[in-house]
């Protein structure tokens, strides 16, 4: 069966429309008087510029009909995107009014620090980079910015998307989105073989927290699994961060003598040499030199492990981003949600594929198609993915949406009405 054929069956029978719609309606599918009935209609879907999507059936029909190889979600506009031509010249400009705050992290941006592969490659050895990115982002978004409704999704190939869906996040201006994205941007590219890092001389609490998250992942996972100190070239690349020739030389000697066995032991040997040098510097009252060594060691960790965000995706309200639960056309993998608490346990290599789901559906139905279209996922391996979607994201979001609609209703009830 060709991929296109499989897609057709997937979007015809398995795609979890109901959950998907519940999310994007943000409570406006309810019967509450404050609900905005036209809300879904004004959302941009990248294949739907000429079609109406205003309810669950419409969404289902549109996706099934077009059978997209890619499904992207854009912002909610002030008017229905399909009708925007009709409003031209009416004085009403077509503008996005709300949009989830989104983040995109892609492993291709880490090619200089991963040794297991490059480009579209992904495996369990480089996944810790994505997992720790989720940890850092999640801590910052929740603790610093106070956001609560965040969905993390495997992008289907070699990266992760984050959707921040709080009311407050959805109405951020482009300028404010840029500010949030830049707040997380510590890694600023490469320069002369070294990472350019916006760490500052003294550390911001967010940077300190990031360091605490990164260090164990770097030492326990990345060092051994990526073999970051396993040959001369990699050793020199890492030593380039150390601003003391004496320390570099002693580390080289110890590593050459084979005294330190594996990558982790080599790192600890380097740490010991740094500590020794710092003790010497402290005796000479050279606090600046001692500090510089601290910063260098920290830079190594940040350069190899700190999330490298694709900032452009986050900065603009009208940037399109691939929808969760759609199928990556090259890999056949489904873009499944990730539980941020268990990000390190996520296995990108065993993510469910459209082929496997169809097999399971076939077996369950014995080849006979049931009537409950759109809920057929219940008999497939998509079940845990949807459980994660609900438990980590949708249940909390729906509660909050109901709450905020009810609050709006109370507010408007308190306002004197102008209609007699």
């Amino acid at each position: 069966m060709g991929t296109q054929e499989m897609m057709k069956l997937y979007y015809g029978w398995i795609f979890p429309y109901r959950d998907f719609y519940k999310w994007l309606a943000y409570g406006n599918d309810s019967k509450l008087p404050q609900a905005d009935a036209g809300f879904m209609q004004r959302r941009e879907f990248c294949f739907t510029l000429d079609g109406d999507i205003f309810d669950l059936d419409g969404l289902q029909a549109a996706i099934k009909e077009r059978c997209p190889s890619k499904l992207d979600i854009g912002p909610v506009y002030n008017i229905n995107p399909a009708r925007r031509a009709a409003y031209a010249g009416s004085g009403q400009t077509f503008t996005p009014v709300e949009r989830e705050l989104v983040f995109d992290i892609d492993l291709t941006d880490y090619d200089d620090v991963r040794t297991c592969g490059s480009g579209g490659h992904i495996c369990n050895k480089c996944w810790p980079l994505m997992a720790v990115a989720i940890q850092i982002l999640d801590a910052g978004l929740r603790r610093d910015f106070g956001f609560q409704h965040i969905l993390y999704v495997y992008s289907g190939r070699r990266g992760v998307h984050a959707w921040v869906c709080d009311d407050r996040a959805r109405c951020l201006s482009d300028e404010q989105r840029t500010a949030v994205a830049n707040y997380f941007a510590v890694y600023r590219g490469q320069e002369g073989g070294l990472a350019r890092l916006a760490l500052g001389l003294e550390e911001h609490p967010a940077v300190t927290r990031a360091a605490a998250i990164l260090e164990p992942v770097f030492v326990e996972r990345l060092l051994p699994e990526q073999g970051l100190l396993s040959d001369d070239k990699r050793q020199e690349a890492l030593l380039a961060y150390i601003p003391s020739e004496r320390v570099r030389e002693r580390a080289r000697q110890r590593w050459a003598q084979g005294e330190a066995g594996d990558d982790v032991a080599r790192w600890h040997a380097l740490e010991e040499e740094v500590a020794k040098e710092q003790a010497t510097l402290a005796k000479a009252r050279d606090t600046r030199g001692a500090k510089a060594l601290d910063r260098a060691m920290r830079s190594v960790v940040f350069a190899h492990a700190y999330p490298r965000l694709d900032l452009e995706v986050s900065k603009k309200m009208n940037h399109l981003l691939k929808a969760p639960f759609c199928v990556h056309p090259k890999t056949g993998k489904v873009c499944v949600p990730i539980d941020p608490e268990r990000a390190h346990k996520f296995d990108p290599e065993t993510v469910v594929t459209v082929g496997r789901l169809l097999d399971q559906l076939n077996k369950a139905r014995g080849g006979v198609k049931g009537s409950d279209a759109g809920e057929e996922w219940r008999s497939t391996d998509l079940v845990p993915a949807i459980q994660t979607f609900r438990a980590c994201f949708l249940d909390g979001l729906q509660g909050a949406c109901r709450e905020s609609l009810a609050a709006r209703a109370r507010e408007s009830a308190a306002q004197p009405t102008l209609v007699w």
Binding site: F145, T178, A179, N182, Y183, G200, E202, E203
Partner: protein, 516 residues
């Protein structure tokens, strides 16, 4: 006197106005009486002269501020310069009248600059920078009073809130300032350290969030009093931006039909207003008669700006210049002191090959006399300013306009090189022109030609000429009195004190190093 026709229909921002202007306490360096969100219109009657004068004075401040930025100063470097511009132009006799002038001028310029997207953007940028500079000059107590007085959505921390975040705040301020001393000052200086910080929604300070210069917790930004300007400028920008759009929409309602013919021309001309000295009446400035037709080739070599040189040369070579060019060059020549008789002689001689004898009298004499106000409606026409010249677009076969704008890169480079300008300045001028800074490019050429810096900038071709003559021949000649005496241009041969200015044609040329 006219009533203040603007009434409250000009979209006043939603912020509650501050009734209490902030008095400047003794000891603050610049005696700035007040800082305003301009949320309330000036209430009383206002004369049309005051209306226009106040607006022009504010425009001088805003243009000066823009010039400083164009020269590459960073916002923190322009602070003092901006404040002295404010002192110079916006200060009035009393505190009340200064506040009034500030408010009136702001509202008039809102009207003048609300009409296109481009004008709005320029005005908004300058007003925000002005606001920033003035806010920074306030003492911490005044800043706080301003924030509270305008009911901005920020408040100082309570002691309990402060204790909860104190350690993280300290770490943040250390990271931001990089100085233990400065950090300690924040935490120990005030009697109540919690009052040194404000809490605001993070959305209110995107600049601080984006550069990680603020502590964030649960969606709140903790802003130190040293950063309070970021808190204040955002609502100012938002309110002004909104008000400009509303004002643009309501412009016709705002200026009632009875006032339209009086106010509209003033308001509409303000956004293109030239603010340098007035070159319209050479007689009053005592320069008429100093230039003869025969001086023009030499003066062109010495002191004409590129646009005039290009035209003089085209005229000389093709013995013709189209109407727009004759206006631009003719009025410039009038401005440098060429009297009518000499102008007629000049044009007749230059055009003799194409318009001999009677043909000239029939077709062009009227035009020359017209420029001098001797024909038609007898208006004494004013020499064109740089902004007017830059705005005009020459068609095929026309050579008027600003060559820094109209010439291609190669043509411009060779045209500048012909002026015998140092190579570094040729590069600078070409780069400035390419970046769209035509007047700065022209100033670079001026500097390259005269070997000294152009303090005033170039805003008018006649100013280019007079500044050039001042450098070449000393202060007295031929600029005459009343022009930037404070400039202190260094010259090798200042005219002897008390010597009466001689006409340029008989002045001994003592300094002609650069004249071919």
């Amino acid at each position: 006197m006219v009533g203040w026709v603007l009434a409250n229909s000009v979209g006043a921002p939603a912020l509650t106005p501050s009734k209490e202007g902030l008095s400047s306490e003794p000891g603050s360096k610049h005696a700035l009486p007040s800082l305003s969100m301009y949320s309330e219109l000036p209430g009383s009657e206002i004369s049309i002269e005051e209306f226009e004068q106040a607006a022009l004075d504010r425009l001088r401040v805003l243009k000066g501020l823009d010039d400083l930025k164009a020269k590459g100063f960073r916002p923190d470097q322009v602070q003092d310069k901006v404040l002295s511009l404010v002192d110079q132009y916006l200060k009035a006799a009393t505190r009340e009248s200064t506040i009034r002038k500030d408010t009136v001028s702001h509202y008039v310029l809102r009207l003048a600059y609300c009409r296109t997207e481009e004008l709005r953007r320029w005005f908004l940028a300058q007003e925000c920078d002005l606001f920033r500079a003035r806010f920074r000059a306030l003492l911490p107590g005044e800043q706080r009073a301003f924030i509270e007085g305008n009911r901005l959505p920020f408040r100082p921390l309570t002691p309990a809130e402060f204790r909860e975040v104190e350690d993280d705040l300290r770490a943040t301020m250390l990271a931001v300032t990089g100085s233990l001393q400065q950090t300690n000052a924040l935490f120990q200086g005030a009697a109540a350290p919690h009052e040194a910080f404000y809490r605001a929604p993070f959305e209110a300070v995107p600049d601080l969030v984006g550069s990680r210069r603020v502590y964030l917790r649960a969606g709140h930004a903790y802003v130190s009093r040293d950063q309070a300007v970021s808190l204040a400028v955002q609502p100012f920008r938002a309110a002004l931006s909104k008000a400009l759009v509303t004002t643009a929409r309501r412009w016709s309602q705002v200026v009632g039909p009875s006032e339209a013919h009086r106010l509209a021309p003033i308001v509409e001309s303000l956004s293109q207003r030239y603010l340098g000295p007035d070159y319209s009446d050479p007689e009053k400035r005592g320069v008429t008669g100093q230039v003869a037709a025969s001086d023009i080739p030499r003066l062109a070599q010495e002191s004409f700006p590129l646009c005039m040189q290009v035209m003089a040369q085209a005229l000389h070579e093709s013995h013709h210049l189209k109407h727009d060019g004759r206006m631009q060059l003719g009025l410039f020549l009038k401005g440098i002191g060429l009297p009518l008789e000499e102008a007629v002689r000049f044009w007749r001689a230059e055009m003799a090959a194409t318009a001999p004898g009677e043909k000239f009298d029939k077709e062009f004499l009227y035009n020359v006399r017209h420029n001098y106000g001797k024909e038609g409606n007898r208006r004494d026409y004013t020499p064109y300013t740089c902004s007017k010249i830059i705005a005009s677009v020459p068609g095929v076969g026309q050579v008027h306009g600003c060559p820094f704008r109209t010439f291609g890169p190669d043509a411009l480079r060779s045209a500048i090189s012909r002026l015998q300008v140092t190579p570094a300045k040729v590069d600078e001028a070409c780069a400035k022109a390419k970046a769209g800074h035509f007047q700065l490019a022209c100033a670079a050429v001026w500097e390259g030609k005269h070997g000294c810096s152009c303090e005033t900038g170039i805003n008018h071709p006649n100013q280019y000429f007079e500044e050039s003559q001042k450098v070449l021949h000393g202060e007295q000649q031929p600029g005459g009195p009343g022009l930037s005496q404070s400039q202190g241009v260094s010259t090798a041969n200042p005219a002897p004190a008390g010597a009466s200015p001689l006409p340029a044609s008989v002045q001994p040329h003592t300094k002609h190093a650069r004249v071919a």
